[in-house]
Symmetry: C3
Subunit: 441 residues, 3 copies
């Protein structure tokens, strides 16, 4: 019965390629194609885990804004992901991986939409020492979307929906792919020896710089800093959601860092993926514990949002080099990330940079730390080159973002009216409350 | 130390099969069994992702009903999944895949419970060109449960718990397995050339038709349509949960469509799975963006619930043929799905079909669209055959469901009392509030 | 273009090991290393699924406590996981798997931190018949953390944060690794033939016994049992979160039980993993249905929290032997688990054991049931040996935990003040509400 089942179910789709292959050439043995299959699988599993991070950002941010802005924050998060998917297909992927199609060698790729390989690809036509294009596109797309997710949290509670989404179009279609091509596309940064395994700089700090440019133009929320210079707390409306979001991000990060090994078909590669998983988990744990202990010492009370951001900062910190450190290395690298967050959040407030969810401390500052610490464990890297890479990408993303934000501000305005902000963006921008039945305390 | 560990830990269970095998026959090389292992793994990973969709439906529906009905909606969702698991084992799986055991050839299989292969299966006894029975059962079961999940949303806020659960028994034990056997079990629809890769019709439209039959018998919620014919909005109580549910469903859909390749052990197959992942993600993104833009144009305000349903409609639309389209194909197919939802939701309200979560537009109408568009990209399919398949399954599911609902209505009643409905099903049906401490606004 | 891409992207990291390998010895064929790669992959996928259970416990417990204690419960859950990660690295892993480094043979291992294999491990240096150390560490760590997660629910709403976290240090660094070494580390219990496939006793009952010891010292919440001996219901604040948590745990359990096969590189092993997935799902479903039907019969109303705990009890019940039973076996084993919970929850209340989330019925009692039922399906096991194993681990964990709790109580106190408890731990312990804007009803 089972044989019959395997012949009847899906036979038209699943078996035809194999048959077609058999006529063209002797079918390759599994031995020859195993590594290709494993690496493709790594990208698919890694990719769906990083996809899941989009939900993590959505929950984290929905939990950390006030209830009157939750619907808007949710809308931004699902919309930005959808836009990133389309832009990365339309121009991003080929701009980021130009191969030999650079417009400006090592600095800017070419413009074309992504094509996948044909259905039922023959082994003879496959890049057997890598993976399927579709799986690579799927995996890389998720990194592009992550960069955009980082921006939405910082600018929450006062930015208009559509200017934000237009910024996402530019960020995911141009800014991220271009700066990422400098390193992962084989551009000038990779040639001078910069090292950023899974994107502490390319993804996280880049997202942080785009957010920083936005917040500089946008300004703080009404009432956040009063006339005496005091910081008025605006606590998040749902810490259960924020915690869920952090757990989701932590889970997704195994795909983010582990998949960045870009290979899973040899003993060395799959063992390295395991090493990356263990180190990633350790850095997150150490960041959380560091924030836990430090807030107890500093404030005499543990601060859950700091613990959550501490875990995330640990994750960002290890992302530039999750493979080479020992577990103890991952521990202290992640712990320093957690410490950075605890000190940076009030520091930003002193500068009147109103970052609603703490994305700049977590992604930009811990991203800097993670990038700079790489040479401690990774051979053939240098602090100077690491700094050059971070500074170059930071400057590029910051200034291009700044220009885009300024243009958007001039053309359509990026900030809701004072009345809208006070009443909440959900009613003014969307006319739809997230929790319509729950009375406000 | 590691060797010792590998011998001591689990040795009794993990190593015995290998040893037993070695005595019977020369152990097969990994080369020979690799494809079987990979396809089994595809079913296990795909299966747990589709399992996760049950949580997605639960969160989506809990977020879209009013707070007085949340506990009931949660109870229905976890209970229906549990019932589906049991019914699919008891009769569903063998009814759906009769092999040569049809009772009415091509139309109805036989009745027997599912047996798995023995522990420590020898390679010589395995269907090496497919996958393990257990993994196939696990994967297919999740599709059966999904069909039932679709029904619960439409009928929310006024149906009694137990009649609903009895309907689930019939749906998951008989209705779904029989109609699905027509195609995936090798029945008459597969013989005339119908094509439904992962179930736009077999799962999604089928669930939608069962829901439609129910809502026709059940009628709209009290107060939904007033005497002047106006539609009274009844906003969902928790849009954060609804968004979470949508992200969960999106994630699970990679398993739903990707696993439906039913093979992962060749270059062609794993590359196709990657292609399916990329297309599935694109269709969801396009559906979301289409609903985003269209609600802005039509209503001057973006509607988050439409964006969520747009993404889901994009997913349903691509499900009948996620492999063959190009990424651009997936984009426009998904976008049309999103457009369908935006227009169909108010249309259903005009017909006084009160579908609480929009399951009929998303699953039935986008399922129709997805099924009919298959011939554009898939060779050897025709619009006529696609229509025949959709109509046959729709008619069968609708009328059998209608009969079951009518019987349930006659025997035990399917609708709670007016007082219960107004007070909420949570107090009347279960005596347990979902959010007992949060005051109603 | 793709070839270029594969050479440029990550070439420095991913390809070097292969090249280095090639110079030392003839590279092994994929055929030789496939099983190692598959089992390593099983641990990584299984491990991230079990990691996800930490989020499941956090959501379940946050949903079942009152809103004034939610932030504290979330903090405990993320902190305990982070602490477990560090302690299991520092001493736990090597204490649990001593190899030939026992301090007291079969009873207690040695103390040392975990080291991973070098980056880019050569196949010649790998334990090819098992998996990578890093992946094994990652997977096993998650079980240690799970044990701690179980404790936090029982003691909710009145225990101080720091004494709880200090207990977690001892539990995850010493208590769990030592008792688990008796069986999975090849200690005395494994030698007498005890059988606990994935940890009904080693993980779940152990967590339950640690919780029981805590609750005995801690006492019930204020007002839970009034002077007339009546039990005052204290309903959970968010059943949507509790349901989400249950779905997360159910999903994670596929990794928990499936990964415990500890091998995935042969037909027999991967088929067994599939069998475990199917049985695990069946037991959960049967536990849920049993609680559904039983609460309807006993109380005339279905109790959602019982259905959730019924599913979890079904999962715990099958965990000691998820491989050998038939699907029907998994059904009745899981169903009995669900029945146990429905009867045990009120029974515990009669004993004035105030277990906030029902962790003792679910993990300890269903764990006992699951352990004792193993001999029905698993050869070479006996009821006597199963009982000895359960009793030995139970006694050890209970009494050591009791001593630790008593010391903590004497040194720093483990219970918040009466005023703090009444006002809620979130304000008194953390100064941070989980839902600051939602008025209390």
């Amino acid at each position: 019965m089972q044989l019959l089942k395997s012949l009847s179910v899906g036979a038209g789709l699943a078996l035809l390629p194999t048959l077609a292959l058999a006529q063209d050439a002797p079918a390759p043995t599994f031995d020859e194609v195993g590594p290709y299959i494993m690496t493709t699988l790594l990208f698919l599993v890694g990719g769906f885990l990083v996809f899941w991070m989009a939900a993590g950002f959505a929950m984290l941010e929905a939990g950390l804004v006030r209830s009157k802005n939750v619907t808007t924050q949710l809308t931004k998060n699902i919309a930005l992901f959808a836009i990133a998917s389309i832009m990365y297909w339309l121009v991003g992927y080929n701009l980021m991986y130009p191969g030999d199609g650079w417009i400006i060698a090592g600095w800017m790729g070419g413009f074309s939409a992504t094509s996948l390989e044909p259905v039922g690809l023959a082994a003879a036509d496959a890049t057997l020492d890598y993976a399927s294009v579709a799986s690579d596109f799927f995996f890389q797309l998720m990194f592009c979307a992550t960069t955009a997710s980082i921006v939405s949290g910082t600018l929450a509670e006062r930015i208009k929906l559509w200017p934000f989404l237009i910024f996402v179009v530019v960020l995911t279609g141009l800014i991220y792919p271009i700066e990422a091509s400098w390193q992962w596309g084989g551009g000038w940064l990779s040639e001078i020896g910069f090292s950023d395994f899974a994107g502490s700089t390319l993804v996280h700090a880049a997202g942080g710089f785009a957010a920083l440019a936005g917040v500089v133009i946008l300004g703080p929320r009404i009432g956040k800093y009063n006339k005496e210079g005091r910081v008025i707390p605006m606590p998040g409306s749902n810490l259960a959601l924020a915690t869920l979001g952090t757990f989701i991000l932590w889970l997704g990060w195994f795909g983010f860092n582990g998949g960045s090994q870009l290979a899973a078909g040899t003993v060395g590669d799959i063992t390295d993926v395991g090493r990356i998983f263990a180190n990633t988990n350790m850095a997150a744990s150490a960041g959380a514990v560091a924030a836990l202990v430090l807030t107890q010492i500093l404030y005499k009370k543990v601060d859950l949002t700091m613990v959550l951001n501490g875990a995330l900062a640990g994750l960002v910190s290890i992302t530039a080099g999750p493979l080479d450190p020992t577990l103890f290395g991952a521990l202290w690298i992640g712990a320093v990330g957690g410490v950075i967050v605890v000190f940076a959040v009030p520091m930003l407030d002193k500068l009147k940079i109103d970052d609603v969810v703490g994305a700049i401390p977590v992604h930009l500052l811990a991203g800097f730390w993670g990038t700079m610490v790489v040479p401690v464990y990774t051979a053939d890297t240098s602090f100077v080159t690491q700094f050059i890479g971070f500074a170059a990408i930071g400057a590029f993303v910051f200034f291009v973002s700044l220009v885009v934000w300024i243009i958007l501000k001039g053309v359509m305005g990026i900030r809701v009216s004072e009345e809208s902000e006070i009443n909440g963006l959900d009613m003014s921008e969307l006319g739809m409350e997230a929790y319509p039945e729950f009375a406000k305390g």
